[in-house]
């Protein structure tokens, strides 16, 4: 997935941003040295947009979006402020002191106000940004750390070095406070103003045009996340990702097929049937809220969560105490308890660390954890736990990956590096779902959870690049294994990264290929010669047929997939469907 910034509309509508900045700058009590209001004179967003990297996409729905981005901005935006300052230090000093004990000078404290103009330029930002969008509540953008790296302050007092340095220091500190505290409020208000009166009209009227024009004037330093474009090249508004574009109509209403599939899924959960229908055009809502609360503690239960660097290390560390800590770490503790398979693989931690270190060393860059740990506890068997189920997927995949060959880890690591935006989490190699020894247990476990089909390889096929335990572990997705490098454009990948679509949907063009390639011999079952047996094979055949059917349908439905944004997916060779996002 990639972001295309349509930077020009932001420049056009800066008046409102200026007003909001002015009011927020004057809201807090000013130091006595500033005697007049601070007015934003000029605000130019520059020509280069900030660079965004998606780290995590948490909550994805028609009316919700939540993601963590890494933003860096090295553009030429500048901001000019105008105010008046008091030039008599005795005046500012005495004005704040009680008059009883003040020397009360006769005229030595008379004031002299000097107009001051400050220009902030050469702004360098880099930091982690959490963007949360909800249709009802607007957009919230929060910086996780202090994003301001450097800043150049030039003012009318540049010829006086003392004043220049003092201004630089003071403004830098004030800007840091502004970024961390005031900016989310500004953007939230702007978004409320933008979306609430217009959403109703936007949905009734022509959506795409209206939204493109009424893009909210977001503060330049935080607008990075606001202008992603979807796979169709149309600029998406942050949050209105799916509601105003051409394909939005498909999302606007539930597809009957999906409803039937959901019903079938529910049924299969209840009856322990192994049938897991693939869902198309669905968004799996991972346990964003609960997962968010457990950054570290989800290390085991949701090992794919939070693949930020700090978290990677933390989860690595947590893996070392896998079996013991699994019950305590799992936010969805019930899920852990009810998955004895997790605890039954004490070697899994080593597997984790091995795979993760290998992958990390190989990758040399941060893995973006796009895989939602959908394997949540499915004992309750409600359909809404689809995401949770799939979020729990990796976990059960992990222990079963114990038997995976080390070589597969390396391959996975390599494959992961080949991936584009959609990367598997660093531990994904370990997550390779292997059916070597745990098939029965896995299957048994999975029978409780309708496994969301994902592009995971069940067994560690030698050329499987993406070891992400995807929902399709039961599906014969040998095409993923077969052509990991196939740079086929997968236009739906873009959406899938948010959508948790089925792998079959993701790579319809390959499915024919894959269908032809499907052979039981490629299945992990048969490769391992495990006790999967005939039952699994039959089931696999059934799933393969279904996948082929779905692919055909998908092809009919989506003829106009664009491929320019799918390079990441293409890089993965389309071997695997985009993993479900990590919550």
């Amino acid at each position: 997935m990639a972001f295309n910034f349509n930077w020009s509309p932001l420049i056009a509508d800066t008046d409102r941003v200026r007003e909001m900045l002015t009011s927020s700058l004057n809201k807090s009590p000013k130091p006595p040295i500033i005697v007049d209001d601070i007015i934003v004179n000029e605000l130019n967003l520059g020509s280069t947009p900030p660079e965004l990297e998606i780290l995590e996409v948490g909550d994805l729905a028609e009316d919700k979006f939540r993601g963590i981005f890494k933003m860096s901005y090295t553009g030429d935006a500048y901001l000019t402020l105008k105010t008046r300052v008091q030039a008599n230090p005795l005046n500012t000093y005495l004005s704040t002191k009680p008059s009883f004990a003040s020397p009360q000078p006769l005229a030595a404290s008379s004031g002299l106000t000097i107009p001051l103009q400050i220009t902030l330029s050469d702004i360098r930002l880099s930091g982690f940004v959490i963007l949360v969008f909800s249709k009802q509540k607007g957009i919230t953008l929060v910086f996780r750390n202090d994003p301001l790296e450097s800043l150049k302050v030039s003012s009318t007092f540049d010829s006086i070095p003392f004043v220049r340095d003092y201004l630089q220091k003071t403004i830098e500190s004030q800007l840091r406070v502004l970024f961390m505290e005031d900016l989310p409020a500004i953007i939230h208000r702007l978004s409320l103003r933008m979306f609430s009166p217009e959403h109703q009209s936007a949905e009734t009227h022509d959506p795409s045009k209206a939204n493109t024009d009424e893009r909210a004037p977001i503060d330049p330093f935080a607008s990075s996340a606001e202008q992603p474009t979807d796979s169709f090249g149309q600029p998406l508004e942050g949050g209105t990702l799916f509601s105003h574009d051409a394909p939005s109509e498909t999302y606007a209403s539930f597809s009957q097929k999906n409803l039937l599939r959901l019903a079938a899924l529910t049924e299969s959960q209840r009856t322990l049937s192994l049938f897991t229908p693939g869902m198309r055009d669905t968004v799996y809502r991972a346990w964003a809220s609960s997962a968010d609360k457990n950054d570290m503690s989800n290390g085991i239960s949701t090992p794919l969560h939070r693949p930020t660097l700090s978290r990677i290390q933390s989860t690595l560390g947590s893996h070392s105490a896998f079996s013991s800590s699994a019950p305590s770490q799992a936010s969805e503790t019930p899920s852990v308890h009810s998955r004895p398979s997790l605890a039954s693989f004490p070697s899994a931690p080593t597997v984790y660390s091995l795979g993760s270190t290998a992958s990390r060393s190989r990758a040399g860059r941060k893995r973006k954890n796009r895989v939602v740990n959908l394997r949540k506890e499915k004992v309750e068997g409600d359909v809404s736990d689809m995401a949770s189920v799939s979020s729990g997927y990796p976990e059960s995949a992990n222990p079963s990956a114990t038997g995976s060959a080390e070589a597969s880890f390396h391959e996975d690591a390599a494959a992961a590096t080949r991936e584009g935006e959609i990367n598997t989490p660093p531990r994904s190699p370990k997550k390779k779902v292997g059916f070597q020894q745990s098939d029965t247990t896995r299957l048994g476990a999975d029978s409780r959870r309708p496994v969301t089909p994902r592009n995971s390889t069940l067994a560690p096929p030698p050329d499987d690049d993406d070891q992400t335990p995807r929902a399709s572990m039961y599906l014969p997705i040998p095409d993923e294994q077969k052509t990991p490098q196939k740079p086929e454009p997968r236009p739906s990948r873009q959406r899938l990264s948010r959508n948790q679509a089925l792998p079959d949907r993701v790579k319809p063009p390959e499915l024919p290929r894959s269908a032809s390639d499907i052979s039981l011999s490629n299945l992990p079952f048969s490769a391992d010669g495990s006790s999967g047996g005939i039952l699994e094979q039959a089931w696999m055949m059934k799933m393969a047929n279904e996948i082929a059917r779905k692919v055909a349908e998908e092809k009919v439905r989506r003829p106009a997939w664009r491929s320019d944004d799918e390079e990441g997916i293409g890089r993965r060779g389309g071997a695997e469907a985009p993993p479900a996002y990590v919550s």
Partner: protein
């Protein structure tokens, strides 16, 4: 109107013969009295008492915030002989208006303060202690005055407040008055501010007394009918690395001057480029005008303010009107006691201030209002009333007059639009 404690302080200085006018800090006192009078904000009630000649207490209750108030106590080692009843207080002493400068004193004359102690003649060392506690804000003010010698006065002012840095500050001022000139040195613990002030009076030298009238002027500015004074001040704060200086000039007419008494001042702040000049004239026994012009040579900001003061005197009662008719016109008549004072000021930004101070039965009442003519929608800025009830049996009277005039106060509440 002076608060009771300030009035006691003035009486202390007067009784210990300390010339407060002979200081650079009071160079523009007349203009400040006529133009910078404080308009009361909200309702504030003062009840004060002079329990004895050495002890005074005062309580205030105000309506700033929900309610605010203060307690203050004062002790002097010099027995003060001021009237203890508010009805007996001369309003002219309380209301600071046009200030006629007191005559300069010779340091030798201050020997009248000597007392006999242990058989030796010693100068009085009068001391004054004053403390004030503001209740809702829990801040404490304290003042210690000590007349170290005939020409030296030490003043320590402290403020203790939790919201201040370091919890408060102390200001120490050492004032020297030598008649012809005076100096002050001050030090404040808050940011270690050091300051010095000095004032020099041209012309009449009290150290060599001379009859002012009839003497040919020794030099151009030796105007016997008036006094020219020049002074300067300088402050420096090593902590803030900041400071300020200013210099000023004042010419005022002495009481022997024929014609309208007037006062002209000019103060300059060379660092900031501020010029301020004022002119005050007493147009009659009851009327005084003042105007002030400020100008900044760097920023070209300017300000003009005009003020006026009108006294209302008690009319002589009808019983003695026959005696008044017998008075010859050229006889000097004593001024009747003032009943009330009206002060007004207006500046070029359209801000108008009004203050009416009068005596109502046993209460001394100040009514004030501030207008802003430029803001059409919020013309009435602040309205306030400050009744002050003075000493002992006036406490009973205070209660009575509060009750009696409660509807007055309540009615004034209705006009209290924006008390802040």
């Amino acid at each position: 109107m002076l608060e009771f404690m300030d009035y006691v302080l003035t009486a202390f200085h007067a009784q210990s013969r300390w010339n407060r006018d002979n200081s650079y800090a009071s160079l523009t006192a007349t203009a400040a009295n006529l133009l910078d009078f404080p308009v009361p904000n909200g309702i504030r009630l003062h009840v004060s008492a002079l329990s004895s000649a050495n002890f005074a207490s005062s309580y205030t209750l105000g309506s700033r915030g929900v309610v605010d108030g203060s307690l203050s106590y004062l002790y002097t080692s010099l027995g003060l002989s001021i009237p203890s009843r508010s009805s007996a207080l001369h309003l002219g002493n309380l209301v600071q208006g046009y200030r006629h400068l007191a005559a300069l004193q010779q340091p030798e004359n201050l020997r009248l303060n000597e007392i006999l102690r242990n058989g030796k003649k010693e100068e009085r060392r009068d001391a004054l202690l004053y403390g004030r506690l503001y209740l809702p804000t829990s801040s404490l003010e304290a003042l210690y005055l000590r007349r170290i010698s005939a020409t030296r006065l030490l003043r320590l002012a402290c403020v203790s407040d939790g919201t201040l840095p370091n919890g408060g500050s102390i200001l120490a001022v050492l004032q020297n008055d030598f008649g012809k000139y005076s100096t002050e040195y001050l030090y404040s613990t808050d940011s270690s501010l050091i300051g010095a002030r000095g004032l020099y009076n041209f012309g009449y030298d009290p150290r060599s007394p001379d009859k002012p009238s009839g003497r040919t002027p020794a030099h151009p500015w030796d105007h016997q009918g008036g006094r020219l004074s020049a002074g300067a001040e300088a402050y420096f704060s090593p902590m803030n690395k900041s400071g300020g200086i200013s210099t000023g000039l004042r010419f005022t007419t002495l009481p022997i001057h024929t014609g309208f008494p007037y006062t002209m001042t000019l103060t300059i702040n060379p660092l900031m480029g501020n010029l301020s000049s004022s002119y005050a004239v007493k147009a009659g026994p009851n009327l005084a005008f003042c105007s002030r012009f400020d100008f900044n040579v760097y920023s070209y900001e300017s300000d003009v303010m005009i003020g006026m003061e009108l006294w209302q005197r008690q009319q002589p009662s009808t019983e003695v009107s026959w005696a008044n008719a017998l008075l010859r016109s050229d006889w000097k008549r004593a001024e009747a006691d003032p009943n009330g004072v009206l002060k007004a000021r207006v500046d070029n930004h359209g801000k108008v201030g009004l203050l009416w101070e009068c005596r109502v039965k046993e209460l001394l009442v100040s009514l004030g209002a501030g207008f802003d003519l430029k803001k059409r929608e919020r013309m009435l800025g602040n309205v306030g009333v400050e009744p002050a009830s003075d000493p002992p049996d006036a406490i009973i009277f205070g209660a009575y007059s509060l009750q009696g005039s409660r509807k007055q106060i309540v009615a004034e509440c209705g006009y209290n639009l924006a008390s802040k």
